[in-house]
């Protein structure tokens, strides 16, 4: 059978959101800080990376310290989509739909090599895996690793906060400061 015309590509997600009703610089600034400090992720895991995402919310790493522990099951109430794992072609339309269901403003973290580029599943003629979540939805922060440690995901969260407010809020770890 011909390998072409099997409809294996997906259209890019619809990224339109409503314009803010009030758009004055000081209001926007305060709201942005609030948004950065209460990023509620969606309860949503695709593969092994999701286990590390659970570690990110649990006692040792505790994303609650930065206000990001409220994992909302409904996309309507969440602000942050952590794409944790391998996106199979069967799952890709659902990822797109979940992204489109989130009300703006919304952010996306691609967690792990699978979500970034397909990771260990990329080889010639593979047919089951989407090679990188950024081919179907816009991504704000990439957290590499297979899987990334929860510290890595926390760092990703800080980068989202930095992207929202233009400022890094928390001190760098000592090893990073030394370099």
């Amino acid at each position: 059978m011909a390998q072409e015309n099997q409809g294996l590509t997906f259209p890019f997600a619809d990224t339109t959101t409503d314009e803010p009703i009030v758009d004055i610089a000081p209001v926007r600034k305060i709201l942005d800080i609030c948004r950065a400090m209460s990023l509620w992720p969606m309860t949503f895991g695709l593969a092994c990376c999701a286990i590390e995402m659970m570690g990110f919310g649990m006692a040792r790493f505790d994303s609650a310290r930065f206000g990001a522990e409220v994992f909302r099951p409904s996309p309507r109430q969440s602000d942050l989509m952590i794409v944790a794992g391998t996106i199979s072609r069967k799952m890709a339309p659902l990822v797109v739909r979940l992204y489109e269901q989130m009300p703006g403003p919304k952010w996306v973290i691609a967690m792990g090599n699978c979500a970034i580029s397909g990771g260990p599943f990329v080889y010639k003629d593979q047919y089951g895996i989407v090679e990188g979540v950024d081919t179907i939805i816009p991504v704000d922060v990439y957290v590499p690793g297979c899987p990334p440690r929860p510290e890595g995901l926390l760092e990703g969260l800080f980068h989202v906060q930095k992207k929202i407010t233009g400022k890094r809020w928390w001190p760098l770890p000592q090893t990073a400061e030394a370099n």
Binding site: T17, R35, A64, R65, F66, P73, S74
Partner: protein, 323 residues
């Protein structure tokens, strides 16, 4: 000629404004307490970095929810859809009008106070029903169906557990019920009516949809239940009203069974607030300790245990009063 504005109306309006402020303040404190206590129970710090010890966290959450995109699902009746969170919130504010916070701190002293509270809290079921029906979402509808059957079932043991107190005091007036009890803990109705207190507390948990009875919003099977489709302010209002109903349940529990504003040494609103917050902390503690019950278990607890026990308790109380 304009008649003088009746003083009752002025008191009522000032009281409504004050209770709204009280509801808002309580919600902020409770959001923080809930997340902090959850953290401590899991042996983690909870919100910590946003403000000292995370005290600015509820403000950040609130403002963020205000700034979220407002969304009405396709095919939903947008008028009813947005009416539902308001129907859920408005009766909660009214209920605080009749609650005696202290010996001189009560907005309306009416002799149907308890009936009024029980009636107005029942309106919340209607809000769940409308929210679930107009959301055009199967999860919302299932959540609403569960919410309605749960609330209707638990209303019965709740009323039956309140009745012995009414027979003992002979009044529906919350102020009189509080003053019928003494200042010291052994003079409170919780000592003479321990079973009624336990039944009341369990029913209050179920009526306010708190875990372990939070089946209308069970995350594992219903996404978020009846408020699945609500974003931003709609969700925030449902959240606010949930906390307001929790506070009402704790207030009624404190008045009926724990002596209200009566306390050792000096009576006053401080005792009332302390009792209310102890009950609220127990509710939060229960939420983070017990897993969610199944729906048949939930109804079995109600029909097979709580209602027979409550009727038994009522009969024994009547017998003791008659003798």
């Amino acid at each position: 000629m304009i008649e003088a504005i009746p003083i009752q109306l002025v008191i009522m309006l000032v009281g409504l404004a004050a209770t709204m402020a009280f509801v808002g303040l309580n919600a902020i404190v409770l959001v923080y307490l809930e997340r902090k206590v959850a953290g401590f129970i899991h042996r983690r710090p909870g919100p910590y970095e946003v403000g000292p010890h995370g005290i600015l966290q509820p403000f950040a959450d609130g403002l963020k929810l205000v700034g979220k995109q407002i969304f009405t699902p396709k095919g939903a009746d947008s008028f009813l859809y947005w009416l539902a969170p308001m129907i859920s919130m408005a009766p909660a504010v009214v209920c605080f009008l009749v609650i005696p916070f202290g010996p001189h701190l009560q907005i309306i002293n009416t002799n149907v106070g308890l009936v009024l509270i029980l009636a107005f809290t029942g309106v919340n079921v209607l809000a769940l029903c409308i929210a679930g029906w107009t959301s055009q979402n199967k999860y919302s509808l299932l959540g609403a169906a569960r919410g309605v059957s749960q609330s209707v079932a638990y209303e019965i043991p709740l009323l039956l557990s309140v009745l012995p107190i009414i027979f003992l005091t002979g009044t529906f007036n919350l102020f009189d019920i509080a003053t019928n009890q003494g200042s010291w803990p052994w003079q409170w109705f919780v000592v003479t009516q321990p079973l009624a207190f336990i039944i009341f507390f369990i029913c209050a948990l179920a009526e306010t949809n708190r875990a372990p009875f939070d089946l209308p919003e069970a995350e594992s099977e219903l996404t978020a239940g009846f408020h699945t489709e609500y974003s931003g302010m709609g969700f925030a209002l449902f959240f606010l009203s949930e906390y307001a109903y929790m506070v009402i349940a704790a207030c009624v529990g404190a008045i009926l069974f724990l002596g209200g504003f009566k306390g050792p040494i000096v009576d006053g609103w401080w005792w009332f607030l302390a009792k209310v917050y102890i009950l609220l902390l127990i509710m939060i503690w229960i939420r983070w300790t017990f897993p969610r019950v199944r729906f048949d278990q939930l109804l079995n607890i109600c029909w097979k245990w709580l209602i027979p026990l409550a009727i038994l308790n009522l009969l024994i109380t009547l017998l003791v009063i008659a003798l």
